[in-house]
């Protein structure tokens, strides 16, 4: 690197953002892999040595798993889960043991077997599957380091200005990095879908992967710029280049700060039309993050997670426990709890119900239909919800209502549950509001009648669009037809909002359309009262709301409703002014 400045390395943009800092080089662990002959009398002991190393690795991974669960959401923990399963892979274990039995030392046997597995991965054409060899490599390295007892250079000496450079980073490394709050990282290998990249995105740390040689070029202490937007890094930049990047960084930082500033400001148009922004959550863990992002309530608490994480149908106590965690933290803000929206197939899979295989689960026994057919599941959930309602503001919402019959049947069960609780002298909120999702076209069509019997409605656009346009959301062949701006969808949404307002109730939207800032002006123009969106979208949606005039978007929305051609609608979209 003698006096060479501004050396640019191009890689793959793994996680956006720009950072300037000092290199912290994480050395590749190089093991001395010598093939040794093991005498027959100690081969069993050699197998035990391997077993101990594997058990130790398992224990370490379990700790990582817990840590990841603390700082990131469950999806990331799945990565470690895969590593744990690799460790438990019996065919790998058998192959290694066989080699040891034939007289090979544990290290070399492990290396040989891992190498063979990696080669079978390398033969795969598909990029994503081929990259999974890195997971096998990671696990192999971990076992090896426990076998030889060599400690990897610790990340403890990292500081806040560090940019970590490594040949490859394991998920464990990445999490340790997060705890140290480093500025970024860059690696030789890995692609856009490598686990490390996925974790980096979750942590919002700028990172570039696939730089091929960076770990052999950079030295600890070198100054480095990492550009996670473009996927490049600059080693030993000149002061001019640093200044340029610092400017770019400041602009980005200001943008982020600006979004953060919105946190405590109301969601209000320039001409003072106010709406509410709520958050969608799956899990009590998310409450902290949504409050941090400025949510003033939960517009959709999906309760399916409570079912997924159990091997039996959750009890009243299981429900109550989760709801209390959410409601207590959210108080005084409201929480809309949606009763379970599961398909019978999922419960059958858990061995809980004896349900025939369904050809078409989206049109099958699901959500409220399932609850009405198997009331025990429903009653336990309603009891949990009602009991929790004594501790904060809960609104109850039914999914997949298709007509008045289902709504009334559900309410009948609810009434019975309330009576039971009164008899048991259990406290609950007698005035708890009841609403329904509007996601089935038949319900949207008779919204005037439904609106008279509920306290609020919430438009579930994902399903509504799927059912109105007859498009299976998960079928790639028709995915391109999925279109929130289809004139039929816009007319449905407008009808739901207008007729609910006529009946004097408020309308929320909790589908993906509500969280996409592109659609925000038109939804405001239609008169939507509440947006329920994922945590990170709150500020983005709010920013758009605060930059438009209600009068403008209302006019544009009215124009759009006259259109029958999608292109005309798109044209009107482009005329909306965001100030």
């Amino acid at each position: 690197m003698f006096n060479r400045r501004n050396i640019v390395f191009k890689g793959i943009a793994a996680s956006p953002g720009i950072a300037v800092g000092n290199v912290f080089l994480l050395e590749v662990d190089d093991f001395c892999l010598i093939h040794k002959e093991i005498p027959i009398n100690i081969r069993e002991a050699e197998k035990k040595r391997l077993n101990d190393a594997i058990e130790k690795t398992k224990a370490e991974l379990k700790i990582t798993y817990d840590k990841i669960n603390e700082v990131l959401d469950k999806n990331y923990a799945q990565i470690v889960n895969v590593h744990l399963l690799i460790l438990a892979d019996s065919s790998m274990r058998k192959d290694i043991d066989k080699l040891i039995e034939s007289g090979v030392n544990a290290e070399y046997a492990l290396f040989k077997v891992i190498d063979k597995i990696i080669r079978s991965f390398e033969a795969i054409e598909d990029d994503y599957f081929r990259e999974r060899k890195l997971d096998v490599q990671d696990v192999g390295k971990k076992i090896l380091s426990n076998l030889v007892g060599k400690q990897k250079k610790t990340i403890a000496s990292l500081d806040k200005d560090s940019i970590v450079i490594a040949h490859n980073l394991t998920p464990t490394d990445t999490v340790s990095i997060r705890e140290k709050l480093v500025k970024g990282f860059a690696t030789d290998i890995g692609g856009k879908t490598s686990h490390t990249a996925i974790i980096a995105q979750g942590l919002e740390i700028p990172s570039v992967v696939g730089l091929k040689v960076i770990s052999s070029q950079a030295r600890t202490g070198d100054v480095i710029i990492i550009n996670g937007d473009k996927g490049e890094i600059i080693l030993n930049p000149t002061p001019e280049v640093i200044a340029e990047y610092k400017r770019e960084y400041d602009i980005q930082f200001a943008k982020k700060k600006e979004l953060e500033k919105l946190k405590n400001l109301p969601a209000e148009t320039i001409d003072n039309h106010k709406v509410l922004i709520y958050a969608n959550v799956d899990n009590p863990d998310e409450v902290q993050s949504i409050l941090k992002n400025g949510a003033t309530g939960i517009g959709l608490y999906r309760t399916e997670y409570i079912f997924f994480t159990r091997k039996a149908i959750p009890s009243e106590k299981d429900h109550l426990e989760k709801y209390l965690q959410v409601v207590k933290k959210m108080s005084p803000y409201p929480t809309v709890i949606r009763t379970v929206d599961l398909g019978g197939d999922k419960l059958a899979k858990m061995g809980l119900l004896n349900i025939e295989h369904e050809e078409n689960p989206f049109l099958g026994l699901r959500a409220i239909r399932l609850c009405l057919k198997y009331p025990k599941i429903f009653i336990d959930q309603l009891r949990g919800i009602l009991k929790a309602s004594a501790y904060g503001k809960i609104r109850l919402m039914y999914p997949m209502i298709s007509g008045l019959g289902e709504l009334r049947d559900a309410n009948k069960i609810l009434e019975k549950v309330k009576q039971d609780l009164r008899k048991e002298h259990v406290e609950f909120d007698e005035d708890m509001e009841i609403g329904t999702m509007i996601e089935v076209p038949s319900a949207a069509m008779i919204i005037d009648a439904i609106a008279k019997e509920v306290d609020f409605v919430s438009i579930g656009t994902n399903d509504l669009i799927q059912y109105v346009l007859a498009i299976d959301r998960v079928n790639e062949n028709v995915a391109n037809l999925y279109d929130p701006l289809h004139p039929a969808i816009l007319r449905y949404i407008k009808k739901i909002i207008d007729e609910s307002h006529n009946a004097g109730i408020s309308v929320s939207m909790c589908g993906e359309m509500a969280g996409d800032p592109y659609y925000t002006p038109i939804l405001i123009g239609f008169g939507l009262d509440e947006f329920s969106v994922s945590s990170i979208q709150i500020s983005k949606v709010k920013k758009v709301i605060r930059s438009i005039y209600f009068a403008d978007v209302k006019r544009a929305a009215e124009e759009m409703l006259k259109c029958s051609d999608r292109n005309e609608i798109l044209k009107i979209m482009t005329t909306i002014q965001i100030h």
Binding site: Q78, V82, L85, M92, F129, R132, A348, K349, H357
Partner: protein, 87 residues
């Protein structure tokens, strides 16, 4: 013995997370489960086998199940695929 051909219908195919779900579910059952794709055969209880199948969206997998709880095992497999591995 039970046999069943299933087409992988989730978007990403049997990538790491679904593969893990499949392996974890399979280990709960006593039956042996083989997966055949083209000429390739793997044990459904071993993750690396399942991942090296590289079963992307649309691949056809033949499951061969043998054992005392083969009906339940097949039912569990179908459930996982039907739910698209909760994607």
């Amino acid at each position: 013995m039970k046999e069943k051909v299933i087409v992988v219908s989730n978007k990403m195919g049997l990538h790491a997370r679904p593969a893990a779900m499949l392996v974890q579910t399979m280990t709960r059952y006593q039956s042996t489960v083989k997966i055949l794709k083209d000429d390739f055969e793997v044990d459904a209880k071993n993750i690396m086998g399942v991942m090296t199948l590289a079963a992307g969206h649309g691949s056809e997998l033949k499951f061969i199940i043998n054992g005392p709880d083969e009906n339940e095992t097949l039912f569990a497999i179908e459930g996982l695929f039907k739910s698209n591995f909760s994607e």
